[in-house]
């Protein structure tokens, strides 16, 4: 059910000021990502994975080149437009989960929907569906401090998926998890990718994640060194 380019990157350069000079994190990178891909940006630390993910997620902007996400040029978006893009179309999963500590599991997942001004009943159904996907319906009243690392990351997945985004960006989602929990959440994400045709993009150097990827883009010094399709990835 793959249907068209969802992200288009052309000659992307990203530089960060370092004193009077600057550091080039991404150096003329071009890449197209199709809807429904389960792909990973892999490479050593400092290769530009997270920077690329941040630009795709409109949390950062290119120094040069163009990045179009869902036909919207990231460079030309206002703060309000990029917020709307993130809220409606992009889900984030972070290495450290980034759950809001004072909210319950239910409220953490519901948060993204509050901005969309949906009715309470619609929100409730969407939240319960998302928690069912990740198998946490029995923990809805728990606060993040009461959950294990694996459970926290599953809440984060539910939070990213509850609004049925087109794209989920996951930055080292398994880095803080043990092997069993890593496989569990990867299987969950793979299932959601198949069922909802959501595009998943990982930034990772975890071998366990790589086993599940359908496409692996290797970065080094801000450039793509290898772009490979993996036919027989794990499900």
């Amino acid at each position: 059910m793959k249907n068209g380019t969802i992200i288009s990157i052309d000659k992307l350069i990203k530089q960060f000021p370092v004193g009077k000079s600057h550091f080039t994190a991404l150096n003329g990178l071009s890449l197209n990502i199709e809807r429904g891909e389960f792909m990973g940006l892999v490479g050593p630390s400092g290769s530009g994975k997270t920077t690329l993910l941040n630009i795709i997620g409109s949390l950062d902007t290119p120094s040069q080149g163009t990045v179009a996400v869902l036909d919207q040029s990231i460079s030309s978006l206002s703060h309000k437009q990029s917020s709307k893009l993130r809220n409606r179309h992009i889900g984030f999963i972070f290495q450290t989960y980034n759950l809001l500590p004072v909210y319950t599991v239910y409220e953490n997942v519901e948060f993204a929907l509050l901005l969309q001004k949906l009715s309470a009943s619609v929100r409730k159904k969407a939240v319960m569906d998302a928690l069912e996907w990740v198998g946490l319906t029995d923990k809805i009243k728990s606060k993040p401090a009461m959950l294990s690392g694996g459970e926290c990351q599953r809440v984060a997945i539910a939070r990213s998926m509850v609004k049925r985004p087109d794209i989920v960006l996951a930055d080292e989602p398994t880095a803080n998890l043990d092997s069993k929990n890593s496989h569990h959440i990867l299987q969950t994400m793979k299932k959601l990718n198949k069922e909802l045709n959501t595009t998943f993009i990982f930034a990772t150097h975890d071998e366990k994640v790589m086993q599940y990827l359908n496409r692996k883009v290797s970065l080094e010094d801000g450039q793509i060194v290898k772009d490979e399709i993996i036919e027989n990835s794990k499900n």
Binding site: L59, D60, T96, N98
Partner: protein, 390 residues
């Protein structure tokens, strides 16, 4: 609405730190209302007592009379017309004749003001009816503080010396008929009251008065040869003293409020520093930076809502108790103040006072919350997510 919901969630989630700030702010809130309520209550009581004992509903002064200049007393007297006497007989006007004199309690010389007052007057609360009209003895009534300073008791004799209309010195012994309790210093300190007709006779000023005090039933109009002074004028000094006391008190209130606000400001600065990842997460989830600034501002400002609720929880019962029993001012009984002070002051908490205080607390707490929250609008979300901002 979302900001408010999030703010309260975050505030309550912060636990003890929130409640310490809220407690400090609630103290400021309660103290501001308490102090101003006390001053307003004092003001009302002082104005009420002064009107009841001294100024009535206003006074008609002889044009030469100036209460701030004792030298005007000598010439400030005039006969009362038929029209005025009719009002006096109807108890709507109370004539007062004033003269300077010297009293000699226990052989000491003491400057006093002699006030002739109609024993039958009903305009002022002065117990003038305690002045026996005549049985061969001249009587006087004095206030408690005057009695204390002159070491006099009811039944004591007091020698008075004065100058009559023609400048001739005369002297007479009077008997203290009554010692009254009055909260108005100007009515008590250094004042000796004798029957109007007696003083008129002593000064050779038959049927004359220095001023006329209007009662509540007096039909207000101009009286030829007399200048009307309304209570706004007559109570201006009192209002000025009360206002100056209010300003003095506001310094203390301001300090307490500033301490509470500094605590909130400090919490906000710390909170924004410690919660950078949360800020980054909000932005990643689709909130604009302005919305995040709003959440943190409302969160800081919401301290004031909790402070008002907490302050109300212990303030309302306290205020009701004080309103019922009053605040004892026994130490002021010696009239160390220049304004009327009752034994107990009953605070007056007006709706205006409460609303203004609530507004001050909310607005100031919101401003000190906004100042550090502005920093969020300059944060790069990617740095915030890493929590690496300094």
């Amino acid at each position: 609405m979302l900001s408010l919901k999030l703010a309260f969630k975050n505030l309550l989630g912060a636990g003890l730190r929130t409640w310490l700030n809220v407690l400090a702010l609630s103290f400021a809130f309660v103290l501001i209302i308490f102090y101003n309520g006390m001053i307003d209550g004092w003001n009302r009581q002082a104005q009420r007592d002064t009107a009841a004992w001294e100024t009535g509903e206003g006074q008609f002064w002889h044009p030469a009379y100036d209460k701030y200049d004792p030298f005007t007393i000598e010439d400030a007297h005039a006969p009362m017309s038929e029209d005025i006497l009719k009002e006096v007989n109807n108890h709507t006007l109370a004539p007062v004749l004033i003269s300077q004199a010297t009293a000699y309690p226990q052989g000491r010389a003491m400057g006093v003001i002699l006030r002739g007052i109609d024993p039958e007057q009903e305009v002022l609360e002065l117990p003038s009816s305690k002045l026996p009209q005549s049985n061969g003895t001249d009587y006087a009534i004095i206030g408690k503080n005057m009695a204390r300073s002159a070491n006099l008791e009811a039944g004591d004799k007091l020698l008075l010396r004065w100058r009559d209309k023609n400048g001739t010195f005369d002297a007479r012994e009077v008997e203290i008929a009554e010692i009254f309790k009055c909260d108005v210093p100007a009515v008590d300190n250094g004042q000796v009251y004798i029957a109007l007709s007696n003083l008129q006779e002593m000064l050779a000023m038959e049927n004359e008065a220095t001023l006329l005090v209007a009662g509540a039933t007096f039909e207000m109009r101009e009286l030829d040869g007399w200048d009307f002074k309304d209570n706004e004028f007559l109570l201006a000094d009192l209002q000025q003293i009360i206002d100056s006391k209010k300003v003095g008190g506001s310094v203390l209130q301001g300090l307490l409020l500033i301490i509470a606000l500094i605590a909130i400001f400090d919490t906000q600065v710390l909170s924004i520093f410690r919660r950078q990842k949360e800020i980054g997460t909000y932005i990643a989830l689709g909130l604009t930076r302005a919305q995040v600034v709003g959440i943190f501002t409302v969160e800081g400002g919401a301290h004031s809502i909790l402070a008002i609720l907490l302050g109300s929880a212990y303030g309302i019962p306290l205020f009701l108790l004080l309103n019922k029993n009053g605040i004892g001012m026994g130490y002021a009984d010696d009239m160390a103040f220049d304004i009327p002070v009752a034994e107990a002051i009953f605070p007056y908490y007006s709706l205006r006072l409460i609303l203004i205080t609530i507004l001050i607390v909310i607005v100031t707490a919101t401003i000190v919350s906004y100042l550090p929250a502005r920093k969020i609008s300059k944060m790069k979300p990617t740095d915030a997510l890493k929590g690496k901002l300094q």
